[in-house]
């Protein structure tokens, strides 16, 4: 049985859940709400997540909180790959990888949204600062993001209360590891450095994500001033 070489075999439905459709829903996204549940000093500080009300579909509040943390990372990855694919800056095998991995991350986002329903955090606003617009910067960033996702899922898996959520988490965790290896191979570094991959705590993941400054406030394009047009 030959492995998959043709990307088109893999990619089916056209994405209807991407950021354009979400923007259309006119949800007010703020970058300060519910992201990673952390408090950090300085500009771009996040506030502690408040998990209130009944859990989605019988999932405990603790697990909802962890799922939203995972969703934030999936938003980050999906938006990153989507922007990179649309930028046209990628070529060859890297472009192909961005298409496939992006499609997977978008599918992850869709699945999380379906499970969490109204409990899902909104997609943050991302400023990738050119890392989606140059191939080398893209690969370097992709490696970092995928390695981070692996470590993040690994850190949370033992904390999950529901086995059904745990099964979902480990099934995604290993896929992110495949992504990490793939991007590393494309970037030209070894796909698997050590025999044992380390987990990362939520606090350290939050610090790393904050240090990228990828998550920013949504520009406020609405105001209450009187118009100053020509009339």
């Amino acid at each position: 049985m030959d492995g998959v070489r043709n990307v088109d075999e893999l990619l089916a439905a056209v994405d209807r859940d991407d950021a354009v459709a979400e923007a259309r829903a006119q949800a007010e996204t703020t970058s300060r709400q519910g992201l990673l549940g952390l408090t950090l000093a300085g500009a771009g500080a996040f506030v502690l997540t408040r998990v209130g009300g009944a859990a989605a579909a019988g999932v405990s509040a603790t697990d909802v909180n962890i799922l939203n943390y995972a969703l934030t990372l999936e938003y980050l990855q999906a938006s990153f790959y989507t922007e990179a694919e649309r930028s046209g800056a990628l070529a060859g095998k890297t472009a192909q990888a961005a298409r496939v991995v992006g499609a997977t991350e978008r599918a992850h986002v869709a699945a999380f949204l379906k499970l969490l329903g109204s409990k899902a955090v909104k997609r943050p606003t991302f400023d990738f600062q050119g890392t989606t617009e140059q191939q080398r910067a893209f690969l370097k960033t992709a490696v970092a993001l995928e390695d981070l996702a692996v470590a993040a899922y690994k850190g949370q898996a033992p904390k999950l209360q529901s086995n059904a959520v745990l099964v979902a988490a480990v099934g995604i965790h290993s896929v992110e590891a495949r992504h990490a290896a793939w991007m590393r191979a494309l970037f030209g570094v070894t796909p698997a450095v050590n025999a044992f991959d380390q987990p990362a705590s939520r606090a350290s993941v939050g610090r790393i994500v904050a240090s990228t400054q990828f998550i920013v406030d949504k520009p406020r394009m609405r105001a209450r001033n009187k118009p100053k047009f020509t009339g």
Binding site: I172, P219, M221, R224, F229
Partner: protein, 261 residues
């Protein structure tokens, strides 16, 4: 209390027996195939992950960004090329200075440069800005077209018309300029019936009212004289009946490209 103690002891016995039968502390033992049968299968996943989703075609997409820090727009993607315009972080309305993205390229310095439409005269000006001076990218699939001959505004979403209304535009003396622009802000809750309930700022500028305070930008707004519409009645602004602009507001994302023909 006594009952709990007995249960606890019974449980302890079960656990120890389990450990012993698993061979721990009892010397070498071959793994038994029956052990593997006894292990339950994984429960169903809480997440239903569908087949991977490829992106829709970018045909109707337009991208916009904002000025993050005041910067210069150059004629070419190089800091040493001629400065076309200085860009402030804010538009006169007080909202972030919105720029329509045209293309990105690696510049002479190795960093990313972005070609954008500039909200400066002459209308239609473009220039190159350093990526780091810009904020996050946003994407819309809408397009607002104002037809000056038909005196009509039509909003398209993914190529489909979703809104249409009659408009008032500039008089012959103060014409509404033609060209490619963008809707860059939304103003509301101001106390001025002249502009109606909602106004949208655009990047279009009057080519004749060049001394107008705050740049002479063309806006899209409501009116307290709806009977003038459709018509050539304004100083360049695009006026809609109040009920039409309220309808438009629900459909028009900021950053939507605006074509005035």
């Amino acid at each position: 209390m006594k009952r709990t103690t007995r249960l606890t002891a019974a449980l302890a016995a079960v656990t120890l027996a389990g450990l012993l039968s698993a061979g721990l502390g009892a010397g070498n033992r071959e793994p038994d195939a029956s052990d593997f049968r006894a292990l339950p299968p994984a429960p169903a996943s809480a997440l239903q992950i569908s087949r991977s989703q490829r992106l829709s075609s970018g045909r109707y997409l337009s991208r916009w960004t904002v000025v993050r820090a005041a910067t210069a727009a150059h004629a070419r993607p190089s800091a040493s090329s001629r400065v076309v315009a200085e860009l402030a972080a804010s538009a006169p309305e007080g909202t972030p200075n919105l720029l329509t993205f045209l293309q990105a390229r690696g510049g002479a310095d190795g960093a990313v440069w972005v070609e954008v439409r500039l909200p400066v005269l002459p209308n239609g000006s473009v220039g190159w800005v350093q990526r780091r001076s810009l904020g996050p990218y946003s994407t819309v699939d809408t397009h607002l077209v104002v037809d000056r001959a038909q005196l009509r505004a039509t909003l398209y979403r993914a190529g489909q018309g979703v809104f249409s209304a009659p408009v008032g535009i500039g008089t012959a003396a103060w014409p509404t300029p033609a060209g490619e622009f963008a809707v860059r802000s939304e103003l509301s809750r101001y106390a001025s019936p002249f502009y109606g309930p909602i106004s949208f700022g655009t990047t279009a500028r009057s080519a004749v009212l060049t001394d107008w305070p705050d740049g002479g930008f063309v806006g899209i707004h409501g009116t307290d004289e709806p009977w003038l519409l459709p018509g050539r009645v304004s100083h360049g602004c695009i006026r809609l009946r109040n009920r039409d602009i309220l309808r438009l507001e629900a459909l028009l994302p900021i950053g939507t490209p605006l074509t005035i023909r």
